[in-house]
């Protein structure tokens, strides 16, 4: 009887805790949106002049532009109008392409989405595999893996992109140098080099952090106890090492996912892909503010959503994570 009452209280506390996390996420996005919108106003001089890049415009044209971007209104009013539209997924019109920012971004997500997923899968699978093997084997294997992690972490994405292009597409001709391809197989083939280029840094981070997490779990006494009970070596690794390292690993993977979204800017430019990242780069150079603002807001949103999901998953992965933040 006691147990059910405790259960009910527990469920209420859990619902409240979820509510708090979600609310925190929303607040973060709103705060970031103020900064993103404010960036337009922080442009030195007149934002409209910055946008037009010094072309000669009639006063009427300037006034029309000012009105279109809400610059004729005050900061608060302008922001409210912008965020109100953004909540309905309307980020305005691109000044460069003269089409809606939303359709511009969604069209390009067809390239960037698979690229990010592909890259994340590569990085997570290879990084965690290397981390686990090196932690379990120790010795020379561990040192070699540590060096590989250091080198890959320190290699900038644009360098690995150029290296991969030179070797596999110009040299060996195994993979195309540009374009995103059509159809699933062709797209995967086209996206392989860019995905690898993006995954290299992430691989290094995961291999290093994962190695530390696995090594720490391997040292725990309950691992030794499990061995002393005659639990097989593979089962010990699975149930007592990998299972226990899941929580820190998931946190890192969540952060990584968002950073891969930002990483598309370099890789898509290097490989000539029409994705969100290259759109961001070209829009910045063409001062296409509505597009830049839209992409920035989506990046923040992605970041917050992924991390909130990771947070929400934590109590299920590690039951000691107390609900409501009061740790044991």
């Amino acid at each position: 009887m006691k147990r059910t009452r405790a259960d009910r209280a527990g469920k209420r506390a859990f619902a409240g805790w979820i509510g708090k996390r979600v609310l925190g996420g929303i607040l973060t996005v709103l705060l970031a949106s103020v900064l993103i919108y404010g960036a337009l106003r922080l442009v030195p001089g007149d934002p409209v002049l910055a946008m037009t890049g010094g072309r000669r415009l009639t006063p009427d044209q300037i006034e029309a532009l000012r009105h279109r971007h809400g610059l004729d209104r005050g900061f608060v009013q302008g922001y409210l109008a912008w965020i109100g539209d953004a909540l309905r997924l309307d980020f305005g019109m691109s000044t460069n392409y003269q089409t809606s920012v939303t359709s511009l971004i969604t069209n390009r997500l067809g390239v960037s989405g698979p690229l990010i997923l592909y890259s994340a899968v590569l990085a997570v699978v290879s990084g965690l595999a290397v981390a686990l093997v090196s932690a379990v084997k120790g010795g020379l294997v561990n040192r070699a893996a540590g060096m590989a992690a250091a080198v890959t972490t320190a290699t900038p994405t644009f360098v690995s992109a150029i290296g991969l292009l030179a070797l596999f597409s110009v040299g060996l001709g195994w993979f195309p140098a540009t374009g995103a391809g059509t159809g699933l197989a062709d797209r995967l083939w086209h996206l392989t080099l860019p995905a690898v280029a993006m995954a290299i840094v992430a691989f290094g981070v995961l291999a290093r952090v994962g190695n530390a997490a696995f090594a720490e779990e391997l040292r725990r006494e309950h691992v030794e106890v499990a061995r002393s009970r005659g639990v097989g070596a593979a089962a010990v690794i699975r149930r007592h090492v990998v299972r226990n390292a899941l929580a820190p690993m998931l946190t890192i993977v969540g952060l990584l996912f968002a950073s891969l979204f930002v990483g598309t800017a370099v890789v898509e430019t290097a490989f000539g892909l029409d994705g969100v990242g290259s759109l961001l780069v070209s829009s910045v150079s063409r001062r296409d503010f509505p597009v830049v603002q839209g992409i920035a807001l989506i990046a923040v949103l992605l970041f917050v959503v992924v991390n909130t999901l990771v947070d929400l998953a934590m109590p299920f992965i590690d039951p000691r994570v107390a609900l409501g933040g009061a740790g044991r």
Binding site: R3, E221, H222, V225, G232, A233, R243, P319, R320
Partner: protein, 340 residues
Amino acid sequence: MLAKKTPAREEAPDGGAGTRRDALGISRLSLAVGTGESEIPLLADVTVRVGRGETVGLVGESGSGKSLTARSALGMLPRGARATGGVTVSGVDVLAAGYRELRDLRRTRVSMIFQDPRASINPVRRIGDYLTEGLRARGVPARGAAEQALDLLGQVGIRDPKGAMGRFPHEFSGGMLQRVVIAGALSTEPELLLADEPTTALDVTTQAEVIGLLKEMQRAHGTGMLFVTHDLDLAAAICDRVYVMYAGRIVEESAGASLFGAPAHPYTRALLEASPSVHGGRAEIKAIRGRPRALAEAPSGCAFRDRCPLAGDECAETVPAHRPHGTSLVACLRPEQVTP
């Protein structure tokens, strides 16, 4: 960490303590890590015997090698350690056993209870998972394992065993967790139970309960027990025989009860005088001068001689051999000066 088997190992000499009928026979076990100049000896000539259903104490200060001795029965030697001598559990040669043999031995014949139950159980898995893990490893089907686990939890006095199965370690007190660990250790019906200071991490009030439970379960299952502790009073109270260890060697073997009345080794007497007692008069508590030694840093001859009030020049010459004195076997040249 498991040590790799080394060809340096010698066969157990004849007349060693291990016979087929014993739950545990450790004979002249020596352990060392490193090689050549940097070799560090850990144990020397340790001989310990635990009969079926017998309770044997292994007493000593920290660093004396008592946990190491207990772990050798599981084949859990320090990484890179070389062993000479013999370790047999129910007739199985532990030092010669490969991965599979050791695994099967641990699944069926030996269980160990560690000091801190909170560290012994994986904190992210449920109590039920912990209990059934040992049973499932033995090949018990899932449903049967769950039923047996429930039964065991009831036996060790956990209220609401059904609910407990689904709960996590952090929802239990240390005493309750040690009961769960005991249930897990007995689930495989071992012939030998190794208890490594099973009550040290617990509250005093739960210590007695856990000891009582351990003895009761041991009697019910007919299990031999090697009880590792630094608490001489406790060892004398519950053990049939007691081994006293100092600096990686056994210095005295004695019947449990006679340890108080007639300690044969100066170290045993010093340990007794160093522990406060509520039974005797208000005798002065005497600390042992010096600090405990590990085998690697012990003086030549008798390892205890630099702390011993009775030590003479001849103590430095050789390691004293074990010889009978009263009801004890003692490695001392002049036990008659300890207890006439």
